[in-house]
Subunit: 243 residues, 2 copies
């Protein structure tokens, strides 16, 4: 299982993905689920995926192969808008599903994968899209500044409470890690390391990327502070008049 | 959608269920999802359901009809153990599915329902079971003191953090309501009123039952205190060194 979350903020973009892939309990491996395509000073486009790993990797491979194309409807490096970049990923996803879905389903596996596509092209604002399994997509807005794919529910309540379009990038990174912590506590198949990318609007670079491991000092301190804080908050609230 | 949660505690049982049933957005109704069978001084057995409402109601109707039977394998009033009570509910669920599942599926609906069965029979300890859609079941233990059915994920992180077998009943009721609040914030199809039942071990009565409405003074105060507390806690934690 995977969990990925992306934030579209006034200050830029924050993306986070876990790296664990589980194909049965005896086979737990880590793969990158965050891929970044960038041309310094011109564009940065990041892809995150959740779902069938073969489908995800095929899509990323085909998208990578087509970077050399001169056609804006094929290459993320030629695309003139993030909307078109999202359309490229959705379209490649449809091609891969056309080829693989039937036989994968016949083998008893689920071929579906969804994506987050986020980035900025020079002269245009940063944008964030969620590509559904069918290749269609939705976009984050200032009113709905985060999108999630994969194991999304355990980590959503904390985001619903604290995420705002005008929050600082660092606070969004903190919210992302707390959301991952809640998810990892409730579903052992989502696990560290967590790939975290923080991109400042108009930087047009590959962003700041860090790998947050299980023994990362910040992660440990945050987990302890948040866990202790929730317990204290719970205790501070009066019980209902029922017993 | 529905959310139900049950706690098995050293002090007794706490059960909570929302009452909303949604069959499309133009038709939102409230039905009781918590049914209590009790004989004062002898036994109390509560059922909560999540899933197809027709299946749920059929199971509760058949179980109710068989209360008059003298057979312990048919009647919740004659059953000598909570284990057997769980088996009765699972077995009736299988009968109802046998009759209805195929035609309901053919109409495009999902006939499945799961149950929580909780209670105490004189001279024996309180027990709590989760009946799966297939009629088989698992039991809560001091190490795993809560079970959930329906829309379970949004409300699980807070329970994972604070619920302990040796917590007071009032605190468990508070945890249940916070868990509902988190769920209702993230999924509008789960909504108040919430049926709450608090049962003290060895009371062998119907427990204390209250209906917590949307404008309930305690619920409002708790929501405010918990929301403000989470925001303050979030702000008190240092951001990661990424931006």
């Amino acid at each position: 299982m995977t969990y990925c979350v992306g934030f579209l903020l006034d200050e830029g973009l924050v993306l986070a993905a876990d790296t664990r892939t589980a194909a049965g309990v005896d086979h737990v491996a880590s793969f990158r689920k965050l891929t970044v395509f960038s041309k310094s000073g011109e564009r940065v486009i990041a892809l995150m995926s959740a779902g069938n790993l073969a489908t995800s990797q095929s899509v990323v491979s085909v998208v990578s192969e087509r970077l050399g194309s001169r056609e804006g409807q094929d290459s993320l490096f030629e695309s003139t808008s993030m909307f078109n970049a999202a359309r490229i990923v959705g379209s490649v996803l449809r091609e891969v599903m056309q080829t693989d879905a039937e036989t994968v389903r016949a083998s008893g596996a689920d071929p579906r994968t969804s994506f987050l596509v986020a980035g900025q092209i020079a002269g245009r604002p940063p944008r964030l899209f969620q590509i559904y399994e069918a290749g269609n997509f939705i976009e984050a807005t200032p009113e709905t500044p985060f999108l999630q794919i994969g194991e999304t529910k355990y980590g959503k309540p904390i985001l619903d409470r604290v995420v705002r379009y005008d929050m600082p990038l660092g606070d969004a990174a903190k919210a992302a890690l707390i959301s991952f912590d809640s998810t990892m506590r409730s579903n052992i198949s989502v696990g560290p390391p967590i790939d975290l990318m923080v991109y400042r609007r108009d930087a047009l670079d590959g962003g700041t990327r860090i790998e947050v491991t299980a023994d990362d000092a910040y992660l440990q301190k945050m987990r302890q502070a948040f866990g202790d804080g929730i317990t204290a908050l719970f205790e501070s609230i009066e019980a209902p008049p029922v017993s």
